[in-house]
Subunit: 352 residues, 4 copies
Amino acid sequence: MIKVGIIGSTGYAGAELVRLLTAHPQAEIVWYGSRSYTGTPYASVYGNFFEIVDQKCLDDNLPELARQVDVIFTATPQGYLAGVITEEILRNAKVIDLSADFRMKDVKVYEKWYGIEHKAPQFIAEAVYGLCEINRAITTPETRLVANPGCYTTCSILTAYPLVKAGLIDPSTLIVDAKSGTSGAGRGAKLPNLFCEVNENIKAYAVATHRHTPEIEEQLGYAAGKEVVINFTPHLVPMNRGILATEYASLVPKADGNLPTDDEIRACYEEFYSKERFVRVLPAGVLPETKWVEGSNYTDINFVTDPRTGRIVMMGALDNLVKGAAGQAVQNMNLIFGLPESTGLEIVPLFP
Amino acid sequence: MIKVGIIGSTGYAGAELVRLLTAHPQAEIVWYGSRSYTGTPYASVYGNFFEIVDQKCLDDNLPELARQVDVIFTATPQGYLAGVITEEILRNAKVIDLSADFRMKDVKVYEKWYGIEHKAPQFIAEAVYGLCEINRAITTPETRLVANPGCYTTCSILTAYPLVKAGLIDPSTLIVDAKSGTSGAGRGAKLPNLFCEVNENIKAYAVATHRHTPEIEEQLGYAAGKEVVINFTPHLVPMNRGILATEYASLVPKADGNLPTDDEIRACYEEFYSKERFVRVLPAGVLPETKWVEGSNYTDINFVTDPRTGRIVMMGALDNLVKGAAGQAVQNMNLIFGLPESTGLEIVPLFP
Amino acid sequence: MIKVGIIGSTGYAGAELVRLLTAHPQAEIVWYGSRSYTGTPYASVYGNFFEIVDQKCLDDNLPELARQVDVIFTATPQGYLAGVITEEILRNAKVIDLSADFRMKDVKVYEKWYGIEHKAPQFIAEAVYGLCEINRAITTPETRLVANPGCYTTCSILTAYPLVKAGLIDPSTLIVDAKSGTSGAGRGAKLPNLFCEVNENIKAYAVATHRHTPEIEEQLGYAAGKEVVINFTPHLVPMNRGILATEYASLVPKADGNLPTDDEIRACYEEFYSKERFVRVLPAGVLPETKWVEGSNYTDINFVTDPRTGRIVMMGALDNLVKGAAGQAVQNMNLIFGLPESTGLEIVPLFP
Amino acid sequence: MIKVGIIGSTGYAGAELVRLLTAHPQAEIVWYGSRSYTGTPYASVYGNFFEIVDQKCLDDNLPELARQVDVIFTATPQGYLAGVITEEILRNAKVIDLSADFRMKDVKVYEKWYGIEHKAPQFIAEAVYGLCEINRAITTPETRLVANPGCYTTCSILTAYPLVKAGLIDPSTLIVDAKSGTSGAGRGAKLPNLFCEVNENIKAYAVATHRHTPEIEEQLGYAAGKEVVINFTPHLVPMNRGILATEYASLVPKADGNLPTDDEIRACYEEFYSKERFVRVLPAGVLPETKWVEGSNYTDINFVTDPRTGRIVMMGALDNLVKGAAGQAVQNMNLIFGLPESTGLEIVPLFP
């Protein structure tokens, strides 16, 4: 059994880790870290865990935790892990970080978009960006530190990556219009996240300034082989879970001057994801719905081309707490510990 | 592997059977019956099943189906199963019926509340009412026909049963005020179930006439050892899943003239459900919330006494599609086939 | 024009007062009091008021406010008004209090249920309980201080009052099971009111201890001519607005031993509310839905009798922010200033 | 009083016309047309109208209706009005059509996108496209036939029009990503609009094929002085009312090679809409939310520029049933009958 510790176990992403790991056949949670609820029974923080989790929350003593477990998940605010990580910790335990601290290779980009100084830039180079569907070799048993991708990021990248890589779309024209359920905003008691403020309402926020933007750009830049700059607009939707990314780009004419056909585009997607357990390229004409992936680790993808404008509309859907956070983190854990990637993640989506 | 056929697999309860059985380690669905969608790929009826279920829907030929499988689930309209069931079918396969056809022992009660003639009264006596938490001996390998309890019914009965049986409450004073998510109304395209009619709205319906009433009364009557007549009021709540039953009754004074104490009542509940995997008696002061059982087979129960009125307020919560329908049906299947009761049902509730 | 000041104008009830009074042909708001937002433009606290309200929020200086306006609405926490009210204030301006400070005539009941000392008991006697539909004479031009009824209270009382008063039901058997939208919990940034905690969820709360209980009991006690003790159970429903009260009571046999008929009960309701503009007794068989009163000052009422149990199920629906708070307060203002009761309140409910 | 008839009064847009006209001081509805509910009391089709509307539904005899009223609103399926309109009808009554029949000047475009033959092309030229905010002269007392704009259309056009007209953005780069509440889908009992299918879900639909596309293109083409072809993607959001359009376009460099500044763009919007009662250009940094316009005739607009990409993100929000349908229709009626444009439409948005 893999011994697991979670720092930040009482946020929504942390609770989702608990849900997934509780059902994981090879993992055992031994440390429910929570600065806010230290000493409180976990099940009284989240009533769904009555008679499932008996432990109390512990503090966030990372060095001690590293001595006790095989892997640590940090579902913590930006800057936390960079502030406490040490070589000794990494020697003692694998660390899978759900925050943004080690996602971007250029520390200046991190510091600019997040507005905080990075306290441990020496570990950035070794951190692997744990989106295995676009880089099969990246997470391995040797990996010590995983930067688990963001929720918007995972959805936005997976939806566009194959076409960018194949040169079928022009990345300089890429626009990502993303819609998220409210759990993405966390469990903090803030006025804009109150039921009455969110329900029967939709709005954009952080337009042109959202912190997931450079993360998307960096990864798509690798696909394009050059710098990519995009528009990314997040929206808050009155639902608990789910992200839908609607992405627009101009198709790149082929050598013969014609635009790529739907069949060619579909073949590109299907080939790229042919061996991916958790990416479903939907049949032609069937557009992704967030409800179809709820509670599961799937990302559903499809597209429509518009011959009138020469653009493609790509759509991707995932559950922000699963493939967008905790599920992907468990997937990375599986890869590190040599388990089948889908261990503990073979969850049928909940509908309705 | 248990070979399974489902008649009515494209309703919400049917789809929930598919979700649960797809993940069940000992079961294999070989027949996705659906009169409405015969010939259509199942995954194009429910997009959550893309790449999970590859089969197409078949018709509802019950005799043929019985020859091919070990167990048949019928998630069909009232009267369907009674109209087609035969001794031969029951000799060939177990039948677990999610409709009301065989729930009540008195055929006159059935015919009065459902307004239809019962076409197979000869099988009523043998049918077992599959609520194992109140009758551990009832579902066994010898069982051929299970009447799977209704959603409101399961919740209402489990919440009151121990206290009725122990004589702590007066069943003649019992009032059940129940609140249900909209999936209980099924997937039929009816105006009252449109999003805009349900959202931002709550209403009572079928007041004093709901068909689950006599089913609750019959079972509680067994606990009381006498006829029980109650008020049952269902309400439609703007959520997909979940039933909350709020139940009121007068406490029965003890021999010394005092009312039972909270400790005595709690002890009654805890003893009655001490070995039940799927009933959680919550800690004192923690009231059930439907979100805490979503997607799982749990029923959460608690109570508050009111010394001012001498009444108790009992509360129970479950997921109407799981413990209220498909989960309970799978639980009965497990019992019939000698599997641990919780096989395939060890699901952590989804929150948020 | 009636000059109006509002203390607590940035809570949900306060904002609803602003919505209603902005559209009121005879009123003008001159003081938007808000301790939390003093100095902030009102429209930046509530974006719906852009280009409608230009003023900034002011502090809560009640004595000064009383010199500037004709009427003050206090939509403030319990205890606030009792702590600051003076004879001088009441000489300068009418006060309509949306808190509970002056609703109950027995100060001991207030102090017991609210757990705070009442700082101004000398004004309790003069305060009128502003539920005009059950006491037409109560709010008059002479009234200086109105205790505006609570939201659950208004709904619960209006639904049962005529039958209690006529002796058709036994008030000692009365049980009120109430369901409320989330705006009733206010705009405070508290975890239980976050979208993800409320959405897809229903729960009871404050069972047997909710503070509106004694208020309902006092008023129904006047109708019954004797003390009334009830069970009152509030529930939180995933919607913004609306309260539905489902109320149960035993019918009282007539002199001939028979229970009152539906026609007799309906006649009782219809006669009692025949002249009431804001109470709609629905046609037989049509059950109240909260959506049908949204945004309006109506209370919709109906009932079903159950001959099997001898009980009646009464149902009432209103918008908790209108008839349950701000609308009723404006109605009281109209009565005090000699305007037609419905001035500014002739709002067609919003559906869907 | 203006005598009004409504054909299609029992759809959601029709019911919203009834809500608005019932409260209109100069209008009186004398004909509640409804083919589906002929003979049924209107209030039993929409319970919010109990004690407000006493009339029964009538049939859809347009010639007879035209003899009885001053103005007819047709809230009917595409093709209905074109199939029955005659010169005599137009001589007898004004007609304001909420369908698409007369919105596009090129009948071929209509027939291509709607897939039906236009039965009355002879009236297309005279029909005025009733979006008065972009063409103040268009609806006048001489107008006989108004093509009331679509909901997505109104929102999309108003959000981009001033910048297209001023040449600040390149219309060939325009992408409209729109999100709509479910009432836009109408009251038809269709499976995709069931509560459980829409709730906790978001999806795109009709990608690259939605019928509002050519309508947007035609009007923006007038602003641009040349043909405009765009991408328009509608999404279904789990809320009753509201449309949010998020629109992307490249800014056009000025003569000096610099992009227009935020101040210049803001000045363009503010000047264009300076006299418009129902368009609110929000303060810098405040992004539109659909809840802020609910139930009202407002359209809220704002924008953010992104210097990294040279694009602008424009956002517009309105209530699809008011400014997107019935409210705009009443606004056109007011203009035709010489009333102040806002008569009966001075509604404060409902929040929360």
